[in-house]
């Protein structure tokens, strides 16, 4: 029984962390057909800004989180201005923006490393204490991560489904040209989505770094896993991505318990490849009808 609670607890924590990194990515792909390879660097940037505000300036956490979200939102906007906007009109957008964001991610990661140094530091914003279930300790921080990831998903779902902005985003996602003809300012939608995903990345980065510690390249691993999750769920499906994140988190915790930590990601990936061969558009992805 205790083992089951332990696996469930660590699986849900892993799943929540994955979900946190996945939501922003999935949002951007779903509405802009753009894979943001700079997302990992944005996660790190968010974590470091919060660290700077709280640890170096000594301000309370209630200021650190919004500051991080603001800076990363601005960074997302800069990505739009510098890379996405000049490319929107011309062909090959998907491939080119992918390459461009790899470059931006590398620049950002190196800037962070130069500013804060390569050695790991602890994230000052963390809850202490734990909930005791049977003989298992579940830290409050893990519960907070779980709660925030679900809340974030709900906010994004509400935003996309219930607001005018969300409708514009969805229209752009369905058909960019038609949306533009209906009077939607495509550029503004892109800027909004990228800024929003940047702000979400900041929040995710703070929470992830509260468990793993801050490193300039801390975003790389969560981002790669987030991509794997996006693929499994079907790129661009925010709700599916969160479900897949929790499924894969639980699965990984189970594999770690049964076979050991070192092979968990490799086995996870084999499962993913099998899923992709079975359903190329992902578990929750709608099959796309391609007109030739």
């Amino acid at each position: 029984m205790n083992v089951a609670i332990q696996i469930l607890s660590s699986g849900l924590t892993l799943g929540a962390i994955y979900a946190l990194s996945t939501i922003g990515l999935s949002l951007v792909y779903g509405s802009l057909n753009m894979l943001n390879m700079a997302h990992g660097a944005l996660l790190a940037l968010g974590g470091y800004v919060c660290f700077y505000v709280m640890g170096v300036l000594g301000l309370p956490g209630l200021l650190g989180v919004p500051a991080a979200m603001l800076v990363c939102g601005l960074a997302g906007f800069v990505v739009y201005q510098l890379a996405a906007r000049p490319m929107l009109a011309s062909g090959g957008f998907e491939t080119r923006i992918f390459i461009a964001t790899i470059g931006i991610g590398a620049i950002l990661g190196n800037v962070i490393q130069r500013s804060f140094g390569p050695q790991p530091v602890a994230q000052p914003l963390a809850l202490h204490g734990a909930l005791v279930l049977g003989e298992v300790y579940v830290p409050y921080q893990n519960l907070l991560i779980l709660f925030v990831s679900v809340a974030m998903m709900a906010v994004v779902a509400l935003l996309l489904g219930r607001t005018r902005v969300g409708r514009a985003i969805r229209a752009t996602a369905q058909n960019r040209d038609a949306a533009q003809l209906m009077g939607i300012r495509i550029g503004r939608v892109y800027a909004q989505v990228l800024a929003l995903s940047g702000a979400l990345a900041a929040l995710s980065g703070i929470l992830i770094s509260s468990l793993s510690g801050l490193l300039p390249n801390m975003g790389g691993d969560p981002m790669l896993k987030a991509f794997v999750i996006c693929i499994v769920a079907g790129l661009g499906n925010v709700f599916g991505a969160v479900v897949a994140a929790f499924l894969l988190g639980l699965l990984e915790a189970l594999i770690q318990y049964l076979l050991g930590v070192q092979y968990s990601f490799a086995i996870l990936l084999l499962i993913v490849i099998a899923v992709l061969i079975w359903r190329p558009a992902g578990l929750f992805g709608r099959r796309q009808v391609v007109r030739l």
Binding site: L35, L82, A83, P86, M87, S90, G92, E94, T95, R96, F98, I99, A100, I102, G103, I104, G105, A106, I107, N110, V111, R114, G220, L224, F227, V228, C230, I231, L235, Q262, Y263, F265, A266, L269, V272, I273, L276, I277, P280, V290, L292
Partner: protein, 327 residues
């Protein structure tokens, strides 16, 4: 003169000119850096076949390079296979791995392929780094099966160190040059031949290509298999050149460096990637002075090119040609 013949001529002329370099500039640094350039140029020329010519956005090329390097090192380290035999064998191992990657990506499109191949590369890296159980216990310390974080060293070389003494690096220069010449001839033959046509057809209009009987299954496996051979061989030669094979060959920075070469030079063209490789090696050399800013500089170059000049430097000339044809 047909395009194929012109490329052939250019290739042989360039190879001839490069063959003179060690005679003219004797500095060891220049010669070894040129050898490194040959290695990277081989990789980008083959990567270009997959990414540029066939339009499959695979990021597995550096992993295949690493497979070639590791296979060579392991053959030499565990079985004492002479390097001359181990290198082609390692290249064949790369081909086998590449075929598996190609199979896994067969039904995916565009960015899905990029992500899956990146994830595969990451898994290979993790398998190498996370494996800490000792496979053998040489005097130098515990040695995991895949070499662990430390990697392999002292697995043999091509024999030039014994033959030529301190001048061995000149021999390696010529091996690298020969490798690049062969790889370029190989990629010219493919791009200008029927296989290249099929790849380009599948890239430009998959539906039409398939309806004319150009099967995606067959040709995707062809391009993955063919492009892996020289990539693996380049990896093998990299191992022999430096005498060390470690997990650093998987690093994202190298991947970024080579990707930038292709983007700067011009994807899908015969000579673009080679030009990009030369330019970026020079740029990297120039930025050596400023140390840590190199990676940032490389990132800036990559972003600038992909945003402002997506078809690379070779695209400039193509644009000129098509304008001339229109008028």
């Amino acid at each position: 003169m047909s395009a194929g013949r012109r490329d052939l001529l250019v290739c042989l002329l360039l190879a001839g000119a490069m063959a003179l370099l060690p005679q003219l500039v004797g500095t060891r640094y220049v010669v070894t850096q040129s050898t490194l350039f040959f290695i990277w140029a081989v990789v980008v020329s083959q990567w270009n076949l997959v990414f540029g010519v066939a339009g499959i956005f695979s990021l597995a090329q550096m992993a295949l390079f690493a497979v070639g390097a590791y296979a060579t090192a392991m053959l030499g380290y565990y079985f004492a296979v002479p390097m001359v035999v181990a290198m082609p064998l390692a290249a064949l191992v790369s081909v086998a791995v590449s075929l598996v990657v190609g199979l896994a990506c067969l039904r995916l499109r565009g960015p899905y392929v990029a992500l899956l191949t990146l994830a595969i590369a990451q898994v290979l890296y993790l398998v190498v780094v996370n494996d800490t159980d000792c496979f053998t216990n040489p005097p130098s310390g515990c040695m995991p099966f895949f070499g662990g974080v430390r990697g392999f060293s002292r697995f043999g070389d091509l024999g030039f160190r014994a033959l030529l003494g301190s001048k061995w690096y000149v021999a390696h220069y010529y091996v690298g040059l020969g490798l690049l010449t062969l790889a370029m001839l190989f990629s010219i033959a493919i791009v200008r031949g029927p296989l290249g046509l099929a790849f380009q057809a599948l890239r430009d209009n998959p539906g039409y290509a398939r309806s004319r009987g150009v099967g995606q299954f067959k040709y995707q496996l062809w391009v993955f298999g063919l492009s892996a051979f020289f990539t693996g061989l380049a990896g093998a030669f990299y191992g022999v050149q430096f005498g060390v094979v470690g997990p650093i060959v998987f690093s994202l920075a190298t991947l970024l460096f080579l990707l930038s070469m292709m983007v700067v030079g011009g994807l899908g063209t015969v000579w673009g990637p080679l030009l990009g490789a030369a330019l970026l090696m020079l740029a990297d050399e120039g930025m050596r002075e400023v140390g840590d800013w190199r990676d940032i500089g490389l990132g800036v170059i990559l972003v600038l090119f992909v945003v402002l000049l997506p078809r690379g430097l070779a695209g400039l000339r193509l644009r000129g040609v098509s304008k001339a044809k229109q008028s």
